[in-house]
Symmetry: D2
Subunit: 391 residues, 4 copies
């Protein structure tokens, strides 16, 4: 029996996303038959003690404290970037130049210019490059994509998305890195609305025009989390700092195919821990989806017989649904972590076949163009036409 080709991963960052990615690499071969096999080769973090502990816990074979070490190591095939946004560009470009495949967390960069540079470098290097828009990989949304591609919804008129959270509503919640512009570029815009924009592009198409609005409800917060060079005075006194990113953002879009989009993202929606939801209306039908009922796709078809029309709740856990056949019998729910398993499934397939599965750095770039335009429009109050460059 021929052994499977091993794809050795070096991953930078081991917090929430690091955990999700680690689990996906480990769990992938159990559920899916692939010609290749991911190996959790090296985990990278700056704090030697912490990264060592994480590597043991998450199942990595070794660890490093400097991500540049990955570039020279022959036993690393792909670099997985799970660091704060401000370092994505530098790492991805260096990785591509070193000939490593790259998978990068979203948003791809601090701005479209940087994203373009990343895509250009990745393209030039001929590597496989992906951005981690995991929500695309929910079976219900893959099924939606298939239905849309088959024309089941007809011409698309509306895309509607809300991504609602509530974890920073307490004014005493500290200024963690996700609320610091120098590390993130933006607040909910890049963190949450980036996901909605990816779903919009995945399911509806390219965006040609945007108008934005943003708000920061809590203007100053206590300094917390020392990450990234922010120093608190070492005393009992609470030190406050300005919040320089958005707490909430809204956008109105026009797609190239004529559809309208209305998007909203916020961390100030009490009762919504992680409410990611979309709706699409087309000339022949509509869909609705939300993460709380992740496996359910609601589908309306106007050609159903009169009197029998209505949204149907499709439990996308059957063999016929994308990815679902790999798991349990129909009707047995899967969860959030499986979106990452599907993502790294595509990554491994891409590397194995030398292809470039979606979403690529180009997707990351185009997403970033839209993010930038929304951010800019929120400042000026004026509609912006997006323009996209090629590499």
């Amino acid at each position: 029996m021929t052994l499977k080709r091993k794809i050795r991963v070096g991953m930078i960052g081991y917090k929430f996303m690091g955990k999700a990615h680690s689990h996906a690499y480990r769990d992938l071969p159990f559920f899916f038959d692939l010609d290749v096999e991911p190996v959790l080769q090296t985990l990278v973090g700056r704090d030697a003690e912490a990264v060592k502990t994480a590597a043991e816990k998450l199942g990595w074979l070794s660890y490093e404290t400097d991500w540049r070490r990955l570039l020279d190591r022959d036993d690393i095939d792909v670099i997985d970037i799970g660091t704060p946004n401000s370092s994505h560009g530098e790492i991805a470009i260096a990785a591509a130049q070193a000939g490593k495949h790259v998978i990068c967390e979203k948003p791809l960069a601090m701005n479209a210019q940087e994203a373009l540079a990343m895509w250009r470098e990745a393209d030039k290097a001929g590597i496989t490059h992906m951005i981690c828009h995991n929500y695309r990989f929910v079976p219900a949304l893959q099924h939606a994509k298939r239905l849309i591609d088959e024309g089941a919804l007809g011409e698309i008129y509306h895309f509607r998305a809300q991504y609602l959270q509530d974890w920073i509503m307490d004014p005493n919640f500290p200024l963690v890195w996700r609320m610091r512009k120098e590390m993130t570029g933006s607040g909910t815009l890049g963190d949450l609305m980036a996901h909605s924009i990816d779903l919009a592009r995945f399911l509806v198409g390219e965006i040609k025009e945007v108008t934005g609005m943003a708000e920061t409800f809590i203007k100053r917060r206590p300094i917390g989390e020392m990450a990234g060079g922010l120093h608190a005075v070492l005393s009992d006194e609470v030190v406050m700092a300005d919040v320089d990113v958005d707490d909430a953002v809204a956008a109105m879009l026009k797609f190239e195919n004529g559809a309208m989009g209305v998007l909203e993202a916020t961390r100030f929606a009490q009762g919504n821990r992680n409410s990611n939801r979309i709706e699409i209306n087309g000339s022949k039908g509509s869909i609705r989806w939300e993460i709380e009922h992740m496996n359910t796709l609601e589908l309306y078809l106007k050609d159903d017989p009169e009197g029998m029309q209505g949204y149907r709740s499709i439990n996308c856990t059957e063999g016929v649904h994308p990815y679902a056949g790999a798991y349990w019998a129909a009707g047995h729910p899967i969860g959030y972590e499986h979106t990452f398993i599907h993502l790294v499934y595509e990554l491994m397939q891409g590397i194995a076949s030398g292809s470039n599965p979606s979403p690529t750095f180009e997707d990351g770039y185009r997403n970033q163009v839209v993010l930038d335009a929304i951010g800019q429009s929120a400042l000026t109050g004026s509609r912006i036409e997006t323009t996209y460059e090629s590499v």
Copy 2:
């Protein structure tokens, strides 16, 4: 026993809204104890035969073919205007000048200028004046208002509304009056989003800034419905005409109290016959409501004990809920028509007591200012600050 004072109504228009209002006047005394009693005195329509038939069917004592006749009749206390929007202003102003109380369908006018004139005249006349934003009168939303006023939701951060319909998606659906600018002023904006704006103002507060986007998906339609002077060629040929109003509209709002609003209205959302829904997020809690489950208010309270937090579904059919005690036992649903019963309940109370219940013509005017600004912003692509005049 003293007889109840009779409030004699003259109503103009007898289609959908005319039916709803007629029923409300008839049904009101059955459920509510009032010191006054509405009388369905005269129904007005231009077509003598049709208005006669409608008057019999809907239970009116007499009919007229010219609304101006109402002005002189001593047996008319209040004029109910259910005509297309283009005639609201003329009728309402004449009615006020004749000293009649007035209730007018929404939107109040063709534009804010006209609405202001109507409000001014009504105010000067000292009459009771109301605009028919019936959705305010859903018990679940009255209950929401009470909760918000009591501070249960804390400071409001977000208002989110969609009003989705699908009745004109067929390109062969004719150009009825609701799609003709000269009769309506706008399409979904004044017809549907006006309702959402009323709920926004009722539940959150005044709006100070708007950005809008609008779209007409089907640009030309067959001429249908002869109302209002549009003449079709008398042949078998289908005659097409331009659609000059919006099929869909979106808006982003800023409220005076700092809250953000995101609104959308469309007649192109397959599967949504009449989906009117709102969400509000505040510092202490959130609510959700939609017309399909009209009697249910979903409420989230952040101060619920840890681990037991979640949206609760309150069936607003209990004696303690606004208006609900007038009907059946708890748990027995009421329907759409009851919103009009509550509306005319307030009207009758207002006339009886000489007061001016909400929503008044001032509400209609302020609503219209927002509508105009959204329409204007949709054209220019720029954010607009609203300004409101007083009478």
Copy 3:
């Protein structure tokens, strides 16, 4: 113009059901075109002052204090019986013998023997006779019936019903007439499960075998409500009495067509003010319905394309849905009271045409046979085969 034939109603009882029936007679002509017209001729109650007030409030032309007076009056065409169960038999039989049409609240009688006598007498008299199982007349359930009759669900395997309330869970809630066997015959069995049995018979077919279980959770209660001869000691002391009916009942059924039924009714289900819900599973499809979303029929069809199967939520407010076209535009909900409008619509049609619309006294009798058998089985713990007599 020929005047419509008037059908003059004499109604006995004016509490909850009396209000619902009164409203239905009044509201019927507004929504439906009929060749006949109901007249609220006379309301009957024992307390002269109270019945007079009720007659004024509910819109009756006159009142009586002795129901026997109705028998002799020429201006009464139909007698509507809304009294406690113990008097149904006597009144209905006398009414039939006097040649009056009869409509009677459910359950029809105190036991099957009495119900049979009522049916026999009504049949002999050749009158129109109906029992008030109003839930049949929910448009969504009429639509379900039509679908089942057309074979959309195929062979029926399962009927599942719960009727859950919570209004007597407080041990201090008094022993009102609905908890006194001499006036009701049973507790939840005849009050709530009778409705589920009617839906079972309406939608699935005749029942041939039952097993029952019943429970009284609160065995003694304070005496309240003096109705029906129960005398409390006139002192501050709380006087307690035994509860001699069921607080909750369950039943397992076998239908003649082979289907299984599982039913449950209780007044001890916290959070369920009036939760009436059913499910039916057949070889080709399934339905689900519950009163809280009264206008929605959930329908599953196994022949939907693979991957697109799921329960669809049909909002039964369209012109094509039974009774729904009489009301508002699609998507506008109707409520509980409309079930009674549809019921009296059928009654009026039946009287006008000399026919006998379902549900008739035969339905009431067959329902009562099942109720009796469940009650008996609950006592003995043994399965019972039902037998039905004919008239």
Copy 4:
């Protein structure tokens, strides 16, 4: 650093449950910190080629073709039984006698007598013994248990459960082992209702009285799946055989604490792939749960303020919810497989500490007593009081 004690598993069977258990052992250490570590030591199956392939795929270190080999091997600490029901007893008793810990799929045995023998033997051997009622380990249901234990629901009046599937509704679906009495003991009774009974006992308490009803809708089926000695004639002819187990079963229960239970299990409920749902009503509150929204517990509390009472939807993915803190951030759903992770977490904890976590073989025995009584009552049509023996 001291290495963790390894718990070496030998597992028999590798189909659906074998896959679920294998995954749970593999995934457990990633999410939970334990002092011990499961090792997937040996997988057992009769077909050498098939078990070898399965062992590779599922991640087992070795394989065997005779389960008796596990008894002698020193490197096996615990035996995991995932075979058809007819072999549970023999294997479990032999394993216990060999001093191995045992975890066994449900139902525990072919009948209560056998289950008692298994429990007795396990008890005598002093091993850790568990039965795989995985649904207990849904965080939402663990949370429900905690709430009930704390008295949040007060005195329990009602337990209501349905376990609905639809996978054998096609009359051409073959007679697989789950429909053959000699291998299973019963049909839906032991396969599905056993789960509901476990939840009943877990959440409400012991059952003292049952009445049952059962049905086999399709009486003969084509012979399929050769497992277990059923031989089909080798020709093109379809060979039919009798179905000797129930397609559907219903039961009414009385609990020792006075609560009523109504249960139903079926494989003939179109549209329900795997609908496992329960409701509990108590004097102070109620809960509802269903697997399709696995992470949501619906909770009603009667002591909520008037007008604000309603079922609340608790998304049990927060740190405070049982097991949930091991996974992702609040609001990120987990799936079916996690119930098995929690189950083997308890198993590992039990073995590590020498304790016997629930559900034990005693739970399996008591469950089996109820199953037997329901099956017996379904035959006779008479209520049965359950009696339980001790070891």
